[in-house]
């Protein structure tokens, strides 16, 4: 028998700290596979955020910089400017990127930094215990919106991918998911395209991956994927935005 699928050699032996069924694991795997297939292990520097994926550096065997909350795009800017021949990407959650890090994100996009931004949007703060994020859907219950998110109190969920797609420095914006085999394969293609854009110096590529946080959503992993399809995808529509 021939091996047709196995663990990427760029994934370390560490067992991921993520909850069972967490999308982060799948996305980490895609990042590792993409870097491995492009032969970029020695050329890539990842910037990890604050949030559940703060420990991304434990799982993908490349050089990493752990950034302060929200600041990954500023960190990545300097890393890429000082080492223009390297592949530089940030890996950020929705709290990190679209709340506290909005400024750094928008301005790195606007400067057209030749980096890849991987934005994992699960509409909640996972690490701190399931609080409301800017991306939390209206009506969604979280630790800080226990009666459901109300626009009058909490404002509206927002779509930062659509916002950055308006900026001239951004060459590619896509919204993907990893809840099914087909979605995973598509998401990987999008990542590959983003990495190739950075290599070609085309500007910033923004890859949003709509994800589940089954612990934060208080569902089983399989239920969470169904809930995401029914509730998240109608608002965060999948596909290429730019």
């Amino acid at each position: 028998m021939d091996k047709v699928y196995g663990r990427s050699s760029l994934l370390t032996d560490n067992v991921m700290h993520y909850c069972p069924g967490c999308s982060h694991g799948t996305i980490h795997k895609l990042v590792a596979e993409t870097i491995e297939e492009m032969g970029l292990q020695s050329e890539t520097i990842g910037i990890s955020p604050v949030g559940c994926s703060v420990f991304a550096y434990n799982y993908v065997d490349i050089d990493w910089i752990q950034a302060a909350h929200g600041r990954a795009c500023a960190v990545a800017t300097a890393v890429k400017r000082l080492q223009p021949d390297k592949m530089v990407f940030t890996y950020q959650g929705d709290g990190d990127l679209s709340a506290i890090g909005t400024g750094e994100t928008i301005h790195a996009c606007n400067r057209g930094e030749n980096i890849v931004v991987i934005y994992v949007n699960n509409a909640i703060y996972g690490m701190t215990g399931g609080q409301m994020a800017p991306t939390t859907l209206l009506g969604m219950k979280t630790a800080t919106s226990p009666h459901g998110r109300e626009a009058a109190i909490h404002g509206y969920p927002y779509k930062i991918a659509e916002m950055v797609s308006l900026l001239d420095g951004v060459c590619f914006v896509t919204r993907q998911s990893v809840h099914s085999p087909a979605a995973v394969r598509k998401a990987k293609k999008a990542l590959r395209r983003a990495f190739e854009n950075a290599q070609a110096g085309m500007g910033l590529s923004f890859v949003e991956i709509v994800s589940s946080c089954n612990s934060g959503w208080k569902q089983s992993p399989v239920e969470a994927n169904h809930w995401m399809e029914e509730n998240m995808f109608p608002f965060y529509k999948l596909g290429d935005l730019k």
Partner: protein, 76 residues
């Protein structure tokens, strides 16, 4: 016509029993085990091994990278 035969190898200790792979399999090959690993998780195992085509859907969606996939194709 070709006959396709596949099989998988699950890293039982790495598996957290999330069950996402079960629904990804088009042939209902997988189920969660009755026994648990050292961390207390049930793990994915083949209950209809003969139906596996080695399509790798289970491995592709596995968040923890626990599944290796093998495949053989016989041309007839």
């Amino acid at each position: 016509m070709a006959e396709i035969k596949g099989t998988i190898n699950v890293d039982r200790e790495r598996c957290k029993g999330c069950g996402v792979c079960l629904g990804a399999c088009p042939f209902d090959v997988l189920a969660l085990s009755a026994e648990v690993n050292s961390k207390g998780y049930p793990f994915a195992s083949q209950v209809r091994a003969e139906a596996c085509t080695g399509c790798a859907n289970c491995a592709v969606v596995c968040p923890d990278g626990c599944i290796e996939v093998f495949r053989k194709i016989w041309k007839k």
